[in-house]
Symmetry: C2
Subunit: 351 residues, 2 copies
C-alpha cells in the first residue's frame, strides 16, 4: 500500500511526492524502494503488487522500474485501506486463487531485517495451515500514545503467535501507561498476512457492500477490462479502514509478535527517536552540521548542505530547495495546519 | 573602496563574494552597484574609480561593466584604507592634478539619496575653496556602540560644516550614552571629501613612509607601468587606516553634518534595524515568510523561497543555496568564529 499523502512531514513530503517516495535517512533508497528491496529477498518480483493513487503512477514506475503495469494497482480516489485491500485481493485471486498475501504499508521503517523476514516466513507458514487473519504486533518499548494497540489472549504458539482479544485505538497517556505495563498489549503495525480466500470471506461477512461491488468484476481482474471497472466502481466504495471494518470484528484474528525494530515514521519526533544523535541529542539527516549550545534538535537539509545552529533547543529544522521550516518539537502536530494556512496565503506552490 | 572581506554576514557573504557585491534587500542591485548608481547621478562615469583587491577584479567588471580597466585600481594585498586612498590619490592626480575627490566605502546603505547628493555637492564646493580634509558625520539617533564618533567644535558654517575637535574609537555603552546626549558627537561615516593635493600633503606630513613610496611611482600612474610598480610597492606599505594615520592627527579636518539616512550595514542587527518589519518585529529579506508565535527575528533566504518559523524569538536565520545558519541575535559577533571552526572541520568549501 503506497497511496498515502501526509502533511506531517511537510516540507520534506509534498502533495506530489509524499513520504513513501522520500529517502529520509539519505541511504539512496526511498521508503517504498526499501520496502520493495526487503520483500524481494523472499518474494519473487512478479508477485509484488503496489496499490497506490493514480497520481503516483509515474513515481512508482520511476522508483520501482522492476514492476510491470499489471503489478501497479491504481486507485482512482482515496477510500482508505479496506477498499484498497479488497481490490488487491480480487486482482491477486485472479492470478492465483489460493495465494497467501502479505499486506504492508510502504512507508514504515523496519530494523533488523533478517528477523523481519523470518517473522514473515513464520506468518506465511501459519496462514497456509489455518484460515486466520494474522496481524503483526510489536512489543512496545515505551507507553506511546501515537499508535493503536492490540491486546492478546494469554498464552500462544511456539512461534509467538497469539490469539487476539481486542484492537484499541490510540490511547491517552494514562491508558498507554497501563497498556505498556500490562505486557499483553502490542503496537498495531498495520502489517497483515492471510490467504486470499480468508480475507475475501471476511469482506463477504463484515463488509458485504464492498465484497458485492468487487464481485461484480469477477472475470475482469487482471485483464484489460479491469481498469474501466475499477474507475467506475472504486469511487463508490465505502471509505473505511481494514482495522475498523474487519480486524476489530472478525473472530479468526491472530497476532504474531514481531522480533524486529519498527516505526511507522509518523512524526518528526519518531524519526528523531530512531536516528543517530550526537552527545547533545542533535540529529542531522543527510546534511553536514555544526551545533553550538544546541540540544535535542532534528535538522534535515538536502544532501551535502551545511547547517550551523547556535542556541537552539528542542526544534525541528527542515529545509528543502524552496522551503525552510523551523518549529518547536512540541508543536509538530500543528505543521499540517501551517500547510493549510500557507495554501491560503500563497496558493499551492508550496504544498 | 570596494575591497573588504567580512565574515560577519556569513553565509550570505563568502570569501569569493563579500558584502559589497551582494543585493541585501532584493532590489536587483548590489551595494557596490547602488553606490555607483548613486554617484553617477552627479559624477561622470569616467571620473569614478574603484579600488579593490585583485581577486575581485572580475566581479567588479561583471557588476559595473561601465568602468574601463584604468578605472579599476587593483590592490595586490590588503593594507587597510590609508595605502588604498594614497594609491587612488596618486592615480587620480596623474589624470587631473587639481581633482576634488569623494572617498566612499562601497558597502554602506544610504537613504534619502537626494539629501546625500546635495551634501556631497556642498562638500565638494567647500573643499574647492578650502584646503581641508572634510569628513561626513551622521547625527546619531541612538547610543550605538558599533560606530566610531567624531566630536566637533561648537558652532559651524551655514552649510552645517563644523570644525572637528576629536575622533574617537567605538565607545562602550556608558560612553556612547554620554556622546549621544551631548549633541556634539557624530557617527563617523567613513565618507571623505578633499582636494587631491590636500590629501597628498597630509600623507607627506602624517604618513611620510607611504608618501615616499608612492612618490617613487610619479610618471608611472595611469600608464602601462603602473601595474608593475603597484605590485612591487603596495605590499610594502604600512597597514594602517586613514582615520588612525591621518584624520585623528591632522589639524585641518572639518565635518559636514549629513542630512541622509546612513548605516554601515556592519551587523545583521543593523540590517534588522533598517529593514521593514511586521507587527512582531520580524523581517524577511527577499523571501516569503510566515511567522507563528515568533518575534524579533531576521530571516534571509534566497529570493522566492518560503520560510515558516514557529516559536522563535530574537534569532538570525540565513540560508544560501548550500548553508543554513541559525544564531541568536545576541551572539552574532561570534559568527566569524563559527566560520573559522567550519573551515577547520570541513575545509574551505563553505567559507
Amino acid at each position: 500500500m503506497g497511496g498515502g499523502v501526509g502533511s506531517r512531514f511537510w516540507p520534506f513530503s509534498r502533495e506530489n511526492k509524499p513520504k513513501q517516495f522520500l529517502d529520509f535517512f539519505g541511504t539512496g533508497r526511498s521508503l517504498i524502494q526499501q520496502t520493495f528491496d526487503r520483500f524481494n529477498q523472499i518474494i519473487p518480483t512478479q508477485n509484488i503488487f503496489v496499490a497506490t493513487n493514480e497520481m503516483y503512477a509515474e513515481l512508482i514506475k520511476e522508483q520501482i522500474p522492476e514492476l510491470s503495469d499489471s503489478q501497479i494497482l491504481l486507485e482512482p480516489t482515496r477510500r482508505n485501506t479496506a477498499p484498497c485491500i479488497a481490490y488487491a485481493s480480487y486482482h491477486i485471486k485472479a492470478i492465483n486463487p489460493n495465494a497467501n498475501i502479505v499486506v504492508t504499508p510502504a512507508d514504515h521503517l523496519i530494523l533488523q531485517e533478517h528477523h523481519f523476514l523470518k517473522n514473515i516466513q513464520t506468518g506465511l507458514n501459519f496462514v497456509c495451515k489455518f484460515p486466520t487473519l494474522l496481524t503483526m504486533g510489536v512489543n512496545p518499548n515505551r507507553p506511546e500514545t501515537g499508535y493503536g494497540y492490540i491486546q492478546t489472549v494469554e498464552g500462544g504458539t511456539n512461534d509467538n503467535i497469539q490469539e487476539v482479544k481486542a484492537f484499541t485505538e490510540k490511547p491517552n497517556q494514562e491508558l498507554a501507561n497501563i497498556f505498556f505495563e500490562s505486557g499483553d498489549f502490542f503496537w498495531n503495525s498495520g502489517i497483515f498476512i492471510w490467504n486470499v480466500n480468508t480475507i475475501i470471506d471476511a469482506f463477504v461477512k463484515y463488509l458485504p457492500d464492498i465484497a458485492t461491488r468487487f464481485n461484480l468484476g469477477l472475470g475482469k481482474y487482471n485483464t484489460p477490462e479491469e481498469k474501466t471497472f475499477i474507475e467506475e466502481q472504486y469511487p463508490m466504495c465505502q471509505n473505511i479502514s481494514i482495522d475498523y471494518g474487519i480486524m476489530e470484528k472478525a473472530d479468526n484474528v491472530h497476532m504474531l509478535v514481531a522480533d524486529f525494530g519498527w516505526s511507522d515514521l509518523g512524526t518528526w519526533g519518531s524519526l528523531h527517536d530512531l536516528a543517530e544523535k550526537d552527545q547533545q541529542h542533535n540529529t542531522s539527516l543527510k546534511c553536514k552540521s555544526m551545533f553550538i549550545e544546541s540540544s535535542n534538535n532534528l535538522v534535515a537539509l538536502p544532501e551535502g548542505k551545511l547547517a550551523v545552529i547556535q542556541g537552539l533547543e528542542d526544534y525541528i529544522v527542515v529545509a528543502t530547495d524552496d522551503i525552510l521550516l523551523i518549529c518547536q518539537k512540541s508543536e509538530e502536530q500543528r505543521i499540517k495546519h501551517f500547510v493549510t494556512d500557507i495554501n491560503m496565503k500563497y496558493g499551492d506552490e508550496f504544498i
